[in-house]
Symmetry: none
Subunit: 207 residues, 4 copies
Amino acid sequence: MKHINISRSLGRPKRSEQEQSTDELILTVAGRLFMQKGYQKVPVEEVAKACNVTKATVYYYYATKAELFTAAMLAMMERIHQRTLQILSEDSPLRERFLLLAEVHLQATTSIDLTTFLRENHQVLTTQQMQKMKEAEEEIFQVLEFALEKAMRDGEIRKVNKKFAANAYLSLLRMGNQNLANGSELFKDPKGAAIEILEFYWRSLQN
Amino acid sequence: MKHINISRSLGRPKRSEQEQSTDELILTVAGRLFMQKGYQKVPVEEVAKACNVTKATVYYYYATKAELFTAAMLAMMERIHQRTLQILSEDSPLRERFLLLAEVHLQATTSIDLTTFLRENHQVLTTQQMQKMKEAEEEIFQVLEFALEKAMRDGEIRKVNKKFAANAYLSLLRMGNQNLANGSELFKDPKGAAIEILEFYWRSLQN
Amino acid sequence: MKHINISRSLGRPKRSEQEQSTDELILTVAGRLFMQKGYQKVPVEEVAKACNVTKATVYYYYATKAELFTAAMLAMMERIHQRTLQILSEDSPLRERFLLLAEVHLQATTSIDLTTFLRENHQVLTTQQMQKMKEAEEEIFQVLEFALEKAMRDGEIRKVNKKFAANAYLSLLRMGNQNLANGSELFKDPKGAAIEILEFYWRSLQN
Amino acid sequence: MKHINISRSLGRPKRSEQEQSTDELILTVAGRLFMQKGYQKVPVEEVAKACNVTKATVYYYYATKAELFTAAMLAMMERIHQRTLQILSEDSPLRERFLLLAEVHLQATTSIDLTTFLRENHQVLTTQQMQKMKEAEEEIFQVLEFALEKAMRDGEIRKVNKKFAANAYLSLLRMGNQNLANGSELFKDPKGAAIEILEFYWRSLQN
DNA sequence: CATGAATGAGTGTTCATTCAT
DNA sequence: GATGAATGAACACTCATTCAT
């Protein structure tokens, strides 16, 4: 209703937040802030200011803070979902695709791993809101599981519990993200981290 | 007036909270609550009430909420440290010790993985407080790394970056914890989870 | 787009709200809502929604909320005025006319007694707005007073302060309304209430 | 618990609000303000300021605004109850006692008639809070009804529905209060009003 | 050792009102 | 004639913290 989506260049959707409609701008900014500081530590006012609008404007579009949070997270997850889907749709060997995926996600500020983050903030959300989040999360997992399943069928990797393998993969990526985020000397750069993580992970999948 | 502790169902009451001195009681209870709900969502008042004392009493022992948090976390980490140290000090094969460690920690409500938790709440702490936490965390890691190093020297596992391996191990354990915590069907019980996780992890360490 | 009025149970919908012009519709609906919940507890938005228009539309017709309130109340009072005038214009004995008036008003959701209601909300109105209200109220009183005066002249009732008598009459009607509105067992139905009230009131007017 | 009632001279409890404990002070002031301007139009902050404390202090004693309101009203009603009881307990003729009661209440800023007032603000209260109010109101009515009943038994007045008669009496007093409050020329002073009202009312009770 | 009282600085949310279209 | 977008000013309520006793 309040959406007037005026195009969206598929290539690099980063630059020029000014072009977004106000509600989209709020969504993007809120998502960034919530991820950076956590739900509790971002007053609605801060989101508003970062968007050059007033608190009341935020409430014009999103009825409650929790709803804004939900919407922002869902949008984020959808972006991740798409990016993941796109990478895994190529037809190179799974190992290559997983490596690429790792690189991409270790570079992104928005981690693939909303899991932890959501769990922390799950208490403010209504059951329905949580449900939506779970579904969105599940979709992302399914993309991974599907790719793993195919690789098993093709004999590219050994038979494993695909759910487990998907979880483990994301878990290791999250570890990478965190070590990159804080100044740990474990990894120097995303690329190196991706390689090391995948090399380690892959051993567990090998025939 | 005597404390009349009317039980508190969640998380087994650490045998005989009544016997602890007030400051220890506060520490324990605070630790439990912070872990359950997160730093932001636990008012000092709540800690106080759960201890049958007043807010002012909490402040009598701990100058600020952040300090209480720090102290509670350090105590927790110390307990984990000790437990970990104890398990890894035995002289069975590393794989067995890691399995046991996994079992123990997947059963505990207090996860071995404070890493994530600390990162969330890191903004309220002073640099000094963070420093202490880092050190405590580091100690836990070192126990793992030491065990891994020895196993490498003994040829029990292949040569790997021990820091990386320790991180990966904890990362997978955390994944286990989370899947056990929310109702995911991935694992049915801690024991099974421990086995599956270790089996997966170990493949990456094998010669 | 057509109005799709999905019924609104409380207070019979004043036959065919759809036919009214928008400004009249707003007036009617606002009147009903203000009476039901009180000025303060009816946001302009609520009036708008109940009319299937937007807030801005309400402001298009009425410059401020207070003005809308004033207009709605005046319209209401005018209706009451007319109804009262009509009943009291008949030439049956005063007692009969007062009884009929009582019945009619105890059945109406919109009480004859705006007095109290206005007093509550008098602080938001401008002096001029209050003035108009006072005048409208006064007109209603005058109809009663006129009838009382005539009855005195005709010897139908004893000599009393007509202003006082009019006030007392409305006061007792209000009491009736309230006892009917809340579930008090004092009265079972409007008709019975009217009879009882008039019987009591009349004794004070008798020669 | 938070009450430390340090005496209370039975004679004239008006003067010297400073002697009251903070919670009592808040109660008194809140009562006065709510009666003057209505629940909605008195921000908690205003109550606080009028007491020379901060908003937070008000909330220290009363969990919500509605609770403060309830407590203040109950206290008021209790005072009215006591005053009424005291006056009606004397053993002069009912007419004299009712006259005195009328005088007293027409002079008081705090009207005997909370009925209307409560009805307006009833929507913010919980059912339980409303219940308490109703009970307190009922008690006041019972004092009146009891006196009326006795007068009937003694043949001082005719047989009437005592509930009705009590309601009517309060209704007329309220009318008096309102006409005294706004500048209506109907009454010049409380004493005169009391006399006129009682004279009118009494005719309906006479044998 | 422990507490009751008090507070300052938020923080989510509401709402009357304006204005360009 | 009607509206979507935006806002400023309130306002209820929370909470970490202080302090005299």
